[in-house]
């Protein structure tokens, strides 16, 4: 009962924040006029229009597919190379500067390069997403690998644990808990970069839709697309990553309050 009340109170808190934001938005739209800053109602109206003529769903699908492919690629590469860099000091010294350089190159520069290398299309967007988010996942995996308890490593030595088993049973489960916050960050970046890449490189997807609203001076439409991106990001984080984390780390949450003595 107490939990229920606390739960609904925290929901009410979040809702208050959202409503305050909407109220502020509405006020801004009243002050500056609906051309410069269309109100929330205009944006939702535009969104419904997009949904009705089917433009919305194909764009959402295209953008999601690109963002997730790039994200998956970066998660895979980041974890593999991050663990390598964490286990071997030499590999770490070689790979760290590479990661720093990648981190320093702005996404927009990657888009230009990707357009030159791959031409317009999905490939350019996916590549840009992967290359901009890989330093984040790399750093998470490297940190995780480095922080494995040295006492567990000694235990592995004593029981003559093979390298393969060390990676699967010692490092990976530990790294996962370090990598998840990095993955959440990378996912956010992935979505934003996908939309940006689509703006330049593709003729479908949310980014392309936004490019169209710019040409048509359709501010309400742009706002509608922004709503779409935010909704997608929230869905990916709370619908995919968080449940995945719970599933992969049962040993963290099944704490019985002092049940076994």
């Amino acid at each position: 009962m107490g939990g229920l009340i606390r739960g609904s109170l925290s929901w009410a808190g979040s809702l208050t924040g959202v409503l305050l934001f909407a109220a502020f938005w509405e006020w801004g739209s009243l002050v500056y006029g609906s051309f410069l800053l269309p109100g929330p109602r205009d944006a939702i109206g535009a969104l419904v229009e997009l949904a009705v003529d089917d433009q919305l769903w194909s764009a959402v699908w295209a953008t999601t597919w690109r963002a997730m492919s790039g994200f998956a690629l970066s998660a895979l590469l980041g974890i593999v190379f991050g663990m390598l860099a964490g286990i071997s000091g030499t590999a770490g010294r070689v790979l760290e500067p590479v990661s720093t350089v990648l981190l320093g190159i702005p996404p927009i520069a990657w888009i230009v390069l990707a357009l030159l290398w791959f031409g317009s299309g999905s490939m350019a967007a996916i590549y840009t997403v992967a290359v901009t988010t890989v330093p984040v996942t790399f750093a998470g995996a490297q940190m995780g690998t480095r922080t494995l308890d040295p006492r567990l490593r000694e235990m592995a030595d004593v029981y003559r644990v093979s390298l393969r088993m060390r990676v699967w049973d010692f490092y990976l489960p530990h790294v996962v808990s370090y990598v998840f916050p990095a993955l959440v960050t990378a996912l956010g970046v992935a979505w934003k970069v996908t939309v940006m890449a689509e703006l330049f490189a593709t003729d479908d997807g949310v980014g392309a839709g936004m490019a169209l609203t710019r040409v048509n001076l359709d501010t309400a439409g742009a706002m509608a697309w922004i709503l779409v991106v935010v909704a997608l990001l929230l869905m990916a984080e709370h619908g995919l990553l968080r449940p995945l984390q719970k599933k992969m780390e049962p040993w963290r949450q099944s704490a019985k309050p002092s049940g076994a003595v």
Binding site: L152, E154, D157, Y159, W251, A255
Partner: protein, 248 residues
Amino acid sequence: MLLSFENVSLTIGTSGILADIDMTVAPGESVCLVGPSGCGKTSLLRLAAGVVEASSGTVNNRFGATGVVFQDPRLLPWHRTLENIALGLKSRGVGRRERLARARALASKVGLEDSHDCFPHELSGGMQQRVALARALAIEADILLLDEPFSALDVGLRAEGQDLVERLVVDQGMSALIVTHDLTEALRLAHRVVVVSGHPGRVVFEHCVGTPFHQRSPAWLYEQAGHLLRQEVVRKSFLFQRTSERMS
């Protein structure tokens, strides 16, 4: 099968940890290492386990499988009890079904039959240490190396752990090298008590315990401990410990 130290020294950096260690553990023999903290007992055990190399001299471990229990349980937090027990079997390539069956049998042996599917953090300290012991036994160890395995436990759990080890040593004739700072624990579990002391650590005293295990009553243990402490070298090494503890 034999574990032998021949004139072994260990130096880490510029500090000598151990010097001129000559010692053997014969099959079926239980040897307890006692001494003040920081005298290199744990390093001696590491040498025996083969995770550290001697700076000079030779360490020969001709026992087949060596099971180690550390001061802390060192279980994998993301594995359940049975998987933790079966860790050494998995690294030896034993199939899943068989290693879990063997782990189940061992869990019963150390009194964990109701905790097969618990994660380590759901177990008490004593239970975790028993999982670690079962893990050491799982590889069909010919010799057990125990590094103060019960020092972090309270009195009741400690006695329970000692009972377990006593059964292994007495009933099954398991060879063991046990590090402890508790003389009565050493006297209870050992055929031979070896006192290590000094900087670097040396073997300063050896005492064979002739009394059969079942005659070692608590009264006898305290009497024997008192008897040992009347020896000049033993008293010195333990008195040293007391002053250093008071200082710190």
